[in-house]
Symmetry: C2
C-alpha cells in the first residue's frame, strides 16, 4: 500500500529537548515517507486507507546502534567478569561456532524474531568472522523486513586460533560481501567491522580503510570501553597519540559513516575528533554496567555535538529492548551526575527517547522521527494496561519506557511497510 493514514496519539522527538505530541491526530504516509501530521484530515487525504488506532500511541521505531548477533545465546551469562576475561571465557568460544550454518540459522532466527518483538526497526550488527553465516544473517534480515547494517568481523591477531583470520583472506572476504550486498537491498547493507584495535593488525586496518573509501561503505568498531583495553592499545601502539587516532589514520573514523561503541574513556581530543569527523557514539549502558566498564559521560558528547545513539550490545548487555536501554541510559547518567559533583547533567526522558530513535536513526538517513520526509518507521503502542488514571501523552510515553514491555507494541512499520512476526 503506497499511501495511508494512521490515526492515534502521536509522539516523537525531532530534537532532544522535548517530546512533540499530537493527541488524536492523523499521520499521513506516502511512498514509505511521512507527509505530515494533522489534527483534522485534509480533503486530499480523505480517500487514503485509514488505520484507526484512536487512544493508542504512535511512536517511531527503535534503533539499536550496536549488538553482536552471534553472542545472543550468551545473553545473561558470564556477567561476573570484566571485558577482556569475558571475551576469552564466553564470547570467543561462542563466536567460534558460526562456521556451522545450521547453528547460525537457529540463533539468528531467534534474534530477529526478538528484535521484531521489542520494536527495534533498525539495527547495526556485528556478525562473526564467518563469511557464510554473515551472508545468511543479511539474507534473514532482508526476509524479515527490518532494516540493518551487518558486518563480518575482522580479526587477524590477539584472539583465539579458531577466530584468527589471515590478513589477506579477512580483507578479501569482506570485499566479497560488499560486492554481493551493497546494492542488493535498500534496507540491509554491509558495514566494515574491525572488531577493535587489539585484534586488527595495521595491515588489516589499512586494507579495511581502503575498502571503506573505495566502495563508500560505513564502518563500526569499539572505542575506549575499559581501562585495561585502553592501556593495551597504548602498549600496542605507542606511536599513536591515542586510541581514536589509530582508526583515524586508516580512514576508519568518519571518512565514511562510522559508529564507535562505548566511548567511556575518551580523551577530550578524541571527543573533538569524533565531532569533527561526525563519528557516531553508540552508548550501551547495560553492557557498561555488566562488564564493570564504567559510565559513559554522554552529556559531554552531546555538548560537543557528537552524534549519539543507543545500543543493546548483546551479550555484554543483557536486554534487547531499546526503551529499557533508554531507562538505563538515564539511570547511568544520574550516577555520572553524582560522580562528577553534579557537573554533567543527567539525561532527561526526552533526551533518552531521542537517542534511541532519531539519534541512532540518523545513521540510516532520515530515520527515527516523524518530521516531513522521514522514512516511516513506526510502532503502535497499546498502553491501556499501564495507566490506572488518564495521563498526558508525555507521561504515557515515560510509563511505557520505564514500566512497559514488548506486549504493549501491537503494530510495527519499517519504511511504510507493516512488518509481521518473522518466521
Amino acid at each position: 500500500m503506497n499511501k495511508f493514514v494512521l490515526k492515534g496519539d502521536i509522539i516523537f522527538t525531532s530534537n532532544r529537548d522535548n517530546f512533540e505530541t499530537y493527541e488524536d491526530s492523523y499521520l499521513v504516509v506516502e511512498k514509505g515517507k511521512v507527509v505530515g501530521i494533522y489534527s483534522e484530515l485534509e480533503e486530499q487525504y480523505r480517500d487514503y486507507p485509514l488505520k484507526d488506532y484512536t487512544g493508542k500511541m504512535i511512536i517511531p521505531g527503535f534503533v539499536d546502534l550496536h549488538l553482536h548477533a552471534p553472542q545472543y545465546p550468551n545473553i545473561g551469562l558470564g556477567l561476573d567478569k570484566e571485558l577482556l576475561p569475558w571475551l576469552d571465557t564466553y564470547t570467543f568460544p561462542e563466536e567460534s561456532k558460526y562456521g556451522d550454518l545450521e547453528y547460525a540459522k537457529k540463533v539468528y532466527s531467534k534474534l530477529i524474531k526478538d528484535l521484531w518483538a521489542v520494536g527495534t526497526t533498525r539495527a547495526v550488527v556485528f556478525s562473526s568472522i564467518h563469511k557464510e553465516s554473515t551472508k545468511l544473517l543479511m539474507d534473514m534480515f532482508m526476509d524479515s523486513g527490518l532494516g540493518a547494517y551487518v558486518g563480518k568481523v575482522n580479526m587477524d591477531r590477539n584472539t583465539v586460533p579458531k577466530l584468527t583470520e589471515s590478513t589477506e583472506r579477512s580483507i578479501l572476504e569482506t570485499e566479497e560481501i560488499i560486492l554481493e550486498y551493497k546494492d542488493k537491498s535498500n534496507l540491509v547493507k554491509p558495514i566494515i567491522t574491525p572488531r577493535f584495535v587489539p585484534t586488527c593488525s595495521m595491515e588489516l586496518m589499512k586494507g579495511l580503510g581502503d575498502l571503506a573509501i573505495n566502495y563508500g561503505v560505513p564502518v563500526q568498531s569499539h572505542l575506549s570501553e575499559n581501562t585495561s583495553e585502553v592501556e593495551w592499545v597504548q602498549e600496542l601502539h605507542p606511536e599513536f597519540l591515542d586510541y581514536a587516532s589509530v582508526y583515524n589514520e586508516y580512514n576508519l573514523f568518519g571518512q565514511t559513516n562510522t559508529i564507535m561503541a562505548h566511548c567511556i574513556y575518551n580523551t577530550d581530543e578524541e571527543i573533538k575528533l569524533m565531532a569533527n569527523n561526525n563519528v557516531f557514539a553508540a552508548h550501551c549502558p547495560y553492557s557498561n554496567f555488566n562488564l564493570s566498564s564504567g559510565i559513559m559521560p554522554v552529556r559531554k558528547f552531546l555538548d560537543n555535538k557528537v552524534p549519539v545513539g543507543l545500543g543493546s550490545d548483546i551479550s555484554g548487555g543483557n536486554c534487547l529492548s531499546i526503551p529499557k536501554v533508554m531507562a538505563a541510559a538515564v539511570q547511568a547518567s544520574k550516577m555520572k551526575w553524582l560522580e562528577t559533583n553534579r557537573e554533567l547533567a543527567p539525561l532527561t526522558s526526552s533526551e533518552a527517547f531521542f537517542l534511541g530513535t532519531k539519534g541512532g536513526g540518523s545513521f540510516f538517513g532520515k530515520v527515527g522521527s516523524f518530521e516531513e520526509g522521514y522514512e516511516f518507521d513506526g510502532l503502535v503502542i497499546d498502553d491501556a494496561n499501564l495507566n490506572i488514571k488518564k495521563l498526558p501523552l508525555e507521561e504515557r510515553i515515560q510509563k511505557f519506557i520505564y514500566a512497559g514491555d514488548h506486549r504493549n507494541i501491537i503494530i510495527r512499520y519499517v519504511k511504510g511497510v507493516e512488518i509481521f512476526e518473522p518466521k
Copy 2:
C-alpha cells in the same frame, strides 16, 4: 494438600557464596515446610502426590522488602526529579487519594495481581496514612494467599495538609489496626511505619515505639536515601548523633524486627548500630538510580553482618520484578566498585539471588531457602525459551535473572500452598 513432592532442577542459596543445585531431584514438602531434597525418592515418600516438573527449575519465591502500594499508579512517572521534590510533585498528591476505598481497591487489586505475576511471594509494604484502605490492602493480601507485612503510614509534620495526621489519631489508628490484625492471619501482619524522621514528630515516634514494644510488632522506615534528606534530619535534630539514633532513641531501630530502606549515606557508626540491633537494610537499586540518590555500598553492610534484602521501592523504583532488581543490584555494585577504586567488591550473581530470597526472607522467619524446616515458598520456572544450548543450572538461573521475565514463572507456592492468579 498436606504432603507432596516436586520433581525438577532445584536451585537456591542457603548462603550467599554459591548456588546449591540439585538437578533432576525431588523436593519433599510436609505441612507447608521443606522436609528435604533427594536425588532418588525414599520409600516413605513414594505415596506422596508427585508434581513432575522435570527439566524445569524450582527456586524459592522472591521477597520484596520495600514498596509503596499507593504509589503504584505513578510507576515510571516523574523520574526526572530527586527525592524531596518528587515527593511533593508526584507522591504526596497520589497518596492523598486513598481515602477513596473504591480507588484503593482498583489500584491494590492491580498491584497484587502483578506481584503474583512476577513471582514475589512475600512483600513488606507501605500503605498510605489512611486506616480503612490499609485494612483493605491487608484483607486483599489475605485473599490472594501471598505473604505480607503492611503498614499504615504515620506523618504528623512536614507534609501536605491532606496527609498530615494529628499525633494522637495517628497513634490510635495504628493501634486499632494492630489489635485487629495481629492474630488474624499467619501470612499477613501489621508493621509500624513512621514514614521517615522528617515527617514524624518526636511525640509520634515515642508513641509508635511504645506500640512496637507493647505488642511486639515490627517496624519499617527510610534511612539516609539522599544527601538533602540527611542534612534536613541534622537540621531538625541537632541533639542526636545521627539519623539512625533518632529511630533508636524511640525503640524503632531493632528493638522489634526492623527494616530500613535505602541506607546509602549511613556512617560507619550507623552501620554498626544496624549490625548490633540486627536491623535489616532494604536495598532498592532502581529507586536509587531513578531519584539520583546514589549507590548503596552493599558490600560494607554484608562485611559488617547487617542483614540485607532487596526492594522494588515502587514507585521510586520502576520495576516490580525482584529478579530484575537482583540484576540492578549487581550492576550498581559494579559502579560502586569503580567509584571506590576497586575497594568494595561487586556483588556476584549468587549474592544477589541470596539477597532477593533468603536475605529478605529472613525477615519473615525461615523463608527464602529450601533448607530443612523452611517454609516452602517456591516457583517453577520454565526457561526453555531462554536456552538455545544446554546449560548448567548455575548458568540457567543467571539467564533467568538477567534475561527472563514473569512469563517464565509457571507455578507459585506460598507456605506449601499453590497460589493462583488473584481475582
